[in-house]
Structures are given as C-alpha cells and as structure tokens.
C-alpha cells in the first residue's frame, strides 16, 4: 500500500454509532474520523455523551449499532481481537486507575510484558525513559498512593505510552486533580501531542483545548453539534447551544477571591504567550 493512501485511513473511525442507556439516547448517530497525528478535543456540557464517546472508541462501553475502526480494522465487540486492537489504543482516565498493589515502575511494565511479551530488561529500560519524560522517574519504586494526583496521572500517561499506541484517548484527564496539579498534566499531554501522537481528548480545560486541538468537537445530548477549528469554534461558535456553553467559561471576577483570579489570569496569559510563540505546524 503506498504511504499516501495508508495515511488517509483514519486512525480512529466511528461510523453511525448509536447507544442508548434505557430511554436515554447517549450517542446519537456519531460519525467521527481522526487522522494520523491529529488532535481532536471533545467538549460539551456534563451528560452530553462526550465521555461515553471517548470510552466507546476502545469499546469499554458497548454500543447498540454502528462501526468502530482503528487504523482501518473493525473492532469486534469482544474476544482476543478486541484485546489486541485495544492494546494499540492508549487510554488515560479521570481517576488515574493505577494498579494499587504495584510500584510505579511495575505499573508501566506490566502490560508490555504480559500483553506484548516484551523482555523484562527492555520493558524496564523503556519504562524508565517514559517515566523520565513525564518527570516522575525518581518515584519509580513507590506505590501509587504515595504520589500526588498529578504525578499519578503522569504515570498513567507513561503506562499508556509504554504500549506504543497508535492513538491516545484522554477521558477528562484533569477533572480529578487539584488546580495546582492540572498544568503539570496538561504540559505532558501537550508534549505528547507535539510529538505527533494521534489523540482524542475530552476536557473541560478550554484554554488547553484551544491551544492543543487541531479540531474541536462540541457535543450536546448525545450528538455532535459542531466540528471546527479551535479558532472558529471559540471565536464564532455556530450554534446557540455552543455560545451558551462557552459563556459559562468566561472567568467571572466577582465569584473568585482576588488571588485566584490573578492566578487564572496569569495562566491564561501564559497559554496565549505560548500560542503566539509556537511555530506553525508544517
């Protein structure tokens, strides 16, 4: 297969995906394609189905109809094939979900060793490189409960990357974190994005979404309402629902104590600063 044709096969592809929780239509005719190297950020109000959509991609949620393909391969509903395709898609959860009885290093090497049969020496070497990359190599012999939430989430990212995935899914990766730890995790995600990883991110961090996304998907009531570039979405949302949603994210000075507002403003200007200095992608 010539490279240009293979590149056109989306890494993640959802076709006419439907899902109900009882009477609730949580995913309503979802069609989504994420190309190689593309960063797609899903935003939307609580209960809009964005997390469900993210979890559907590697079939942690069952679907009622539709097709899910990873790099052109259709994902079966269960069995060995499902496990194999899942191992090619990394996932990071809101609640970190590190294995509580294992050390940080063991968390990262477990799946490469048991699923991919990577020799231990090699798995450890790669794991230590990844832990260094996310800045927690000094914690390698501790157990998850001894780490801060931000550190745990960075380990979770390293654990997913250790499988050399084709794509990464982030399901509200910073929603369970204390405010001061959010940035350290977002920085790691940003770095992974800059290295060309294909990503699907569900988040409430609007500044981050705007900065990191190639494409924004806005969901409400199980449907994709808008799909556009970050600039278009944040500056001129097409739907009334998106405008209403975005209006809630403008920082209100009256509801925050003085210090908090200053730190939010500082963060915002930092983000914008980086945006300006970042070189445009080739």
């Amino acid at each position: 297969m010539p490279d240009e044709i293979r590149d056109e096969i989306p890494v993640i592809e959802l076709e006419n995906v439907e899902k109900y929780f009882g009477d609730l239509h949580v995913l309503d005719n979802i069609n989504l394609r994420v190309k190689k190297g593309e960063v797609v950020v899903i935003i939307g109000p609580s209960g809009s189905g964005k997390s469900t959509l993210c979890r559907t991609v590697n079939r942690l949620e069952t679907i009622d109809s539709g097709k899910i393909r990873i790099a052109g391969e259709e994902m079966p509903a269960e069995g060995k094939e499902l496990a194999r395709i899942r191992s090619e898609v990394g996932m990071v959860f809101q609640s970190f979900n590190l294995f509580a009885h294992k050390t940080i290093l063991e968390n990262v090497i477990m799946a490469p060793m048991s699923v991919k049969k990577t020799p231990k020496a090699q798995a450890v070497k790669e794991a230590m490189e990844l832990l260094k990359r996310v800045g927690v190599e000094s914690q390698a012999s501790k157990v998850p409960a001894q780490l801060s939430g931000g550190q745990q989430q960075r380990v979770a990212i390293a654990r997913a990357l250790a499988m050399h995935p084709r794509a990464m899914l982030f399901d509200e990766p910073t929603s369970a974190l204390d405010p001061e730890m959010i940035n350290e995790v977002l920085d790691v995600i940003r770095e992974v994005a800059e290295e060309g990883m294909t990503m699907l991110i569900v988040t409430h961090e609007m500044n981050f979404a705007r900065q990191v996304a190639d494409r924004i998907i806005f969901m409400d009531q199980g449907r994709i309402l808008e799909e556009s570039t970050p600039e278009a979405f944040f500056e001129a949302p097409k739907t009334e629902r998106a405008r209403e949603f975005l209006s809630k994210y403008s920082v209100s000075t009256s509801r925050l104590p003085r210090g908090a507002y200053e730190s939010v403003e500082k963060h915002a200007s930092g983000v914008l600063g980086m945006r300006i200095s970042a070189t445009p992608e080739a």
Partner: protein
C-alpha cells in the same frame, strides 16, 4: 495423674500428635487455598455455568458441618466405589469447607478493588486471565490476609475431626481420647492439647498480622 507423670508417659505422643495436627493443617489449608482461588475465579468468570458451579460449591460447603461431611465421605463414598483412606477422608473434609470460606473472603477482597483498575487493564489489552492473575487475585489476597489467617486457625481446629476416625498417628484431639480410654488423664489431658492448639494459633496470628502489615495495599 499429675502434669509431670502425664508428660512423662505421653510427652512423646503429644509431640507426634502436635506434628500430625500441623501436617493435617498444612495440607488441608494449602488445598483449601488453591481450591478457594479456583472457585473464586469461576465465580467471577464471564461463563455463566462456571459462575453457577462456583456458587453451588460455596453454598454446599459453607453450610455443611464438618462431622456430617466426614460421615458422608467415610460411609457414603464406598457405595460409589470410591474408597479413600480415613486420613484422605479427613483431608478432603477439612479442605473443602475452608475452601468455601476462602472463596468468600477472596470475593470480599475483590469487592475492594476499584473497577477503574480493571478498566485500565482492559484498555491496555490484557485478557481476562491476565487481569485475574496480575491484578484481581494479588489484590484480593493482599486485602484478605487477616481473614485468611483466621481461616488457617479454624482449619487447624477443624482437623480435630480426625479424632472421630482411626488415623495413625493420632492428632491432638485423638490423642486425648486415647489417653482417657487407656488411663485416667482427665481434664488435664485436654488442657495439654488445648495449650498446644492455642500456642500454635497465637504464632499463626502473629505471623498473619506481620504479613498483613507488609503486603497491605496503600490507598
């Protein structure tokens, strides 16, 4: 008969009996542990009939008295052309009942595992057995050390069932009956056995809490 004469006459037999009790306990508990894990894996497996079989096993052996089970094994199995030695019958009875309890303790240990960890393992592409072996069973075991320690003590006490059938050499309870039928050991003969049981239980308890402290999962 006072303690000195009792120990002079039967001291050696007491030691042999203590060792027999320990051996029975070790064999039965090891078997119970392995069977308990297997039954637990059946009970959480995705295969319906296996789950049902696991549940039935637990319901039967958790709810049968040791004496009744031993009688069944000794007197009923020969009708099915299954003839086991008395010793084997005792081992079977004192393994199956603790196995049911072992499974119950592991199940409650499994309930303490956050479902998110299982999801994370599935998302990494791990299979059912890989998840069971690497995550579920290790965590269930680590959080069940104290109940399993109690189970080891109660398994030891259950091996006293062996006093109801002729096994050679005798274990601690069987030896007491022996002494009291051949001599007048009286209540003192019981006390010696009781002391040996208790001393063993105290040691087991100590080791159990040491292990628990060592492997307990920080949350």
């Amino acid at each position: 008969m006072n303690l000195t004469t009792l120990l002079e006459q039967y001291g050696k037999l007491y030691l042999t009996a203590l060792f027999t009790t320990w051996t029975l306990t070790a064999i039965s508990f090891s078997a119970a542990f392995v069977i308990g894990i297997l039954i637990t894996v059946m009970r959480i497996s995705p295969v319906g009939p296996l789950r049902a079989a696991g549940e039935i096993f637990v319901q039967i052996f958790r709810n049968i008295s040791g004496a009744a089970l031993l009688i069944l094994l000794v007197y009923a199995l020969p009708y099915l052309n299954l003839l086991f030695s008395y010793y084997t019958c005792v081992i079977i009875a004192t393994s199956l009942i603790p196995a049911a309890f072992c499974s119950e303790y592991l199940m409650s240990g499994i309930n303490t595992i956050d479902a998110g960890q299982i999801e994370a393992a599935r998302a990494l592409g791990m299979s059912f057995f890989q998840i069971i072996r690497n995550i579920v069973i290790p965590q269930a075991l680590r959080s069940s050390v104290l109940p399993l320690t109690n189970l080891l003590v109660s398994t030891m006490l259950t091996t006293a069932l062996a006093s109801q059938v002729p096994v050679n050499p005798r274990e601690l309870t069987g030896l007491v009956s022996h002494i009291n039928t051949h001599a007048v050991g009286g209540v003192l003969a019981f006390f010696v056995s009781a002391f040996l049981y208790s001393a063993t239980a105290v040691v087991i308890g100590r080791i159990g809490s040491l292990i628990d402290r060592k492997v307990r999962i920080l949350r």
